[in-house]
């Protein structure tokens, strides 16, 4: 630490530039409504940041998205759901508690570039508390082709407008642009007699110094 201080002092005397570590901005958080995940993320997803939720089919990604929509719309926020593949089910969202009147659904019918453009326009318009970009059914190769510059652009736009930008996908794509990365995995389905009752999923936070894990049940 002593060497770092000496180096900083010598640089600051020789160059008239600001130096040091930028203090992390304090962002208010939007709770996910799922106790285990709120604990994992220290209170929910932060506004003005990009949060990634990645996992395979039937790992509870959409359940988290709809739970967040329910939380945000319950607080009177306007939300946007940019649906890259047209798989949004309004009935499921309503059953999760989302107020559909406050959710702008944009169906991009499989066109990823349209989804990115729409996300950018929506964030720039301002006034949306939560913007969800759903790439969960987009093929991995197509999602991986999205340049890092696009994610930077979206993250900066979200920062400027204090919008919580949430990205659902199969694998982590935004890498260093996202503030929080949550990886989900399917643990087991919950069968009860003749009924399919739900599923048990595990979550792991990737951007913490120590791996944090949680488990939650998504029920029908």
């Amino acid at each position: 630490m002593g060497l770092v201080s000496q180096l900083r002092a010598s640089i600051s005397t020789r160059f008239d530039i600001p130096s040091g570590i930028l203090p992390r901005e304090h962002h208010t958080k939007l709770p996910t409504g799922i106790r285990a995940l709120d604990k994992l993320t220290s209170g929910g997803i932060a506004r003005g940041t990009l949060t990634e939720i990645a996992g395979p089919v039937s790992s509870g990604r959409t359940a988290i998205l709809f739970s967040l929509l329910a939380q945000a719309t319950g607080q009177g926020e306007c939300c946007a759901f940019i649906d890259a593949t047209g798989s949004f089910d309004p009935l499921s969202a309503a059953q999760a508690g989302a107020d559909l009147d406050r959710v702008l659904w944009i169906n991009c019918a499989g066109k990823t570039e349209h989804a990115l453009k729409a996300t950018d326009l929506i964030i720039q318009a301002g006034g949306f508390g939560l913007v969800v970009l759903d790439l969960a059914d987009t093929p991995d190769r197509e999602a991986a082709r999205i340049p890092l510059a696009s994610w930077f652009r979206l993250r900066h736009a979200a920062e400027r407008n204090s919008t919580a930008l949430l990205l659902a996908e199969t694998r982590i794509n935004a890498r260093s642009c996202s503030t929080v990365q949550i990886e989900l995995h399917r643990k087991r389905p919950l069968w009860s007699g003749l009924l399919f009752r739900g599923l048990l999923a595990g979550a792991e936070s990737r951007k913490h110094y120590q791996a944090l894990t949680a488990e939650f049940e998504a029920v029908r």
């Binding site: 395979p56 607080q75 047209g86 309004p90 508690g97 729409a118 318009a125 059914d137």
Partner: protein
């Protein structure tokens, strides 16, 4: 001074004629209009000359009366043929011979006056006011003032229908969108200026383009909230025209706006910010331009059991109350998240091998593999009285690869489909 024209069956003509003299016109009845002619002496001369000018402009047989108050003019025009001018202060004398039937009032009062033998305005005017008040009350006194030509009231002016339309004939047919945009901008500016002058906003913008050798092109932009932003309107029209260009060069442009009262909302200090309506509408128009007109909006569930039933309407979130609903938040916090369905639109066709009446293996471009668990069937059907009925057995399945899906069999066609995945 007020002038009255009485001519049965010619109301539009009477109003048109009255407009030539005054903006304050009252449509008293389908055959009578009365209007303010104060200050017209210097233009048309004394009242008899003014009355002759009115008669000349009407051009039809009509009774015309000019008096110091509207009711005296109305009664004189209804009861006296030709032209009548009543000098101020001599109304009672001029109206005295008129039949009491012209006076109006309730049927009981009219019957009572008839029983008393009162037949004319003059007879009624002579009665002592105190006695009239004692026997006929407030209405009697008012009728007597009318009969004497003493009642002074304000006109109830006819309001012009609010029309905000602009048009432009083009010397040369316009083929490109850019020059057309300049014309649209000019017309929009004029319409918005007129709306602003009347403190109104636009609820809908309609554009009609008369084309060369082609049917006319029509566009209506519906605003979810009242708006008055010419730049936003222009951009929306440009986006619409570029998505759906006219079929032929444009000969004439007609633009109109539907006037509505402007929105007045006071946002609370502690409620979340919402998108600015003008900006939001423009953003949605831009998104619809590349994604498709029916691809953006707020979903509204339809009251039916038919799967995947909803309608998409324009996104216009209602204002929130100052405090969020605590009960909704509490319940959402405490409950486990709801499992969601991710739909395939349309449902994907699949070939299914059934063993012991249960799906055992599934093959489709979206998903293939053996079924390790299947729960069902759950039978649903409906709308059997319509052409588009549904009748199916649903299964919840887990495939060997690990995904959980909803599978259904159309019972009419016996074909299998994957409806979506649980997530």
């Amino acid at each position: 001074m007020y002038a009255c024209i009485h001519s049965p069956g010619n109301l539009p003509l009477l109003i048109e004629c009255a407009r030539g003299f005054s903006p304050y016109i009252e449509e008293t009845s389908p055959d009578t209009v009365v209007f303010d002619v104060r200050g017209l002496e210097s233009l048309h001369g004394p009242p008899p000359q003014l009355a002759r000018e009115i008669e000349r402009r009407v051009g039809l047989p009509a009774n015309i009366a000019i008096a110091a108050n509207p009711d005296a003019a109305i009664h004189a025009a209804r009861g006296i043929r030709g032209i009548t001018t009543i000098p101020k202060g001599r109304e009672a004398e001029a109206l005295a011979p008129l039949s009491l039937n012209l006076l109006g009032g309730s049927a009981e009062t009219a019957d009572l006056l008839d029983l008393w033998g009162i037949r004319s305005f003059g007879d009624f005017a002579k009665l002592p006011p105190l006695g009239v008040a004692a026997r006929l009350g407030e209405e009697g006194l008012w009728l007597q003032r009318l009969a004497r030509g003493e009642d002074h009231r304000q006109l109830r002016p006819l309001e012009d229908p609010l029309q905000f339309e602009e048009s432009m004939d083009l010397d040369h047919p316009v083929e490109l969108l850019e020059p057309l945009s300049f014309i649209l901008a000019r017309l929009l500016n004029e319409i918005c200026r007129r709306l602003r002058a009347r403190a109104l906003s636009a609820g809908q913008i309609r554009l009609r383009l008369i084309l060369e050798n082609a049917p006319e092109h029509f566009t209506a932009l519906e605003m979810p909230v009242p708006m008055l932003d010419e730049k936003a309107f222009l951009k929306m029209l440009q986006l619409d025209l570029s998505a759906r260009p006219p079929a032929a060069p444009v000969l004439k442009v007609l633009l109109s706006a539907e006037p509505v009262k402007p929105r007045r909302t006071q946002q609370g200090l502690f409620v979340p910010a919402t998108p600015e309506p003008e900006k939001l509408e423009l953003t949605i128009a831009r998104i619809k331009h590349f994604a498709g007109a029916d691809k953006a909006g707020a979903a509204v569930l339809v009251d039916t059991n038919r799967p995947d039933s909803f309608v998409l309407r324009s996104f216009a979130p209602r204002p929130v109350s100052s405090q969020p609903k605590p009960s909704a938040l509490f319940s959402a916090q405490q409950a486990d998240p709801r499992l969601a369905l991710r739909r395939y639109r349309p449902p994907r066709y699949a070939q299914v091998i059934v063993i012991h009446e249960r799906p055992a293996r599934i093959t489709s471009p979206a998903l293939s593999g053996s079924v390790v668990m299947a729960k069902g069937p759950w039978r649903t059907s409906g709308d059997w009285w319509q052409q588009e009925d549904w009748n199916r057995d649903e299964w919840d399945i887990e495939v060997a690869a690990g995904g959980l899906y909803r599978l259904f069999q159309e019972l009419n066609s016996r074909r299998w489909f994957i409806e979506g995945s649980y997530d």
